[in-house]
């Protein structure tokens, strides 16, 4: 992209925020979103919320298992010879 290129609209920037955080956009699109964020405070709020949502999902991934299920599965492993 060139410095003279117009900013992408908010709708387009917001649409790409998760991909932007994932770095799955092309280098050009990454730069377009970045350029938009440098000027748009509202979309920075959207970006922050996208970050929070990702962290929210990651922290919801606890490894909890009921004792009876654990016991049955451990028994299954023993039967297999593990």
């Amino acid at each position: 992209m060139t410095p003279d290129e117009p900013l992408i609209p908010c709708s387009e920037a917001v649409e790409r925020l998760w991909e932007y955080l994932d770095r799955t956009l092309s280098a050009e699109d990454q730069a377009r979103v970045e350029q938009h964020l440098a000027f748009c405070r509202r979309c920075c709020g959207e970006l922050e919320f996208a970050r929070e949502l990702r962290a929210f999902l990651a922290t919801a991934a606890a490894d909890e298992i009921p004792p009876d299920v654990r016991e049955r599965l451990q028994g299954f492993v023993r039967e297999l010879g593990g």
């Binding site: 649409e15 998760w18 799955t24 996208a50 919801a60 909890e64 298992i65 599965l73 492993v77 593990g82």
Partner: protein
Amino acid sequence: MATQAIPGLYALARRLTDQSPEDLVQECLLRAYRAYGELADDAAGPAWLRRILVNAFRDRLRKEMRSVEEVSVEDVDEFSLYRTLAEEDPFPYSDTLHLDFLRAFGREDVRAVLLRLPVRYRAPLVLRYMEGFSTKEIARLLDEPLGTVLAQLHRGRKRFERELWDYANESGLLAKGAGR
């Protein structure tokens, strides 16, 4: 190795499906037992087991993933949880509205929301954002083109935001949060 991995495998199975997650873990353990000779390094075991579980899940649900209901993409794509929260302002006394909304969800609530998503959206979302697989690896595991996985992730995120909002309304989480 397998015994230590059981809690993580079970948690992953429960996030992927509410259809007999324990059976899915058993299937994974059985496959792992049969293929154990292929594992060169025990240190890679936990990740290897997770891949086997996802493979078993994919095989089990191939039909479901093809026949799953189609979502109206337009409806989902127009929804923004960030804007909806700002407009609806469910916690009028909060200075951190968006964070407080997310904090109202317990782990079982998050699982319930995930299980409301069609499996074709749920699986990539869980694997990417809860299990940390790369998009390329998800494409390999689910045997889908990368472009399809990226589109499913995009729609899955949108649908997840919508379901978070709907679930919070339906389950009374908003009323509880507003009372704090």
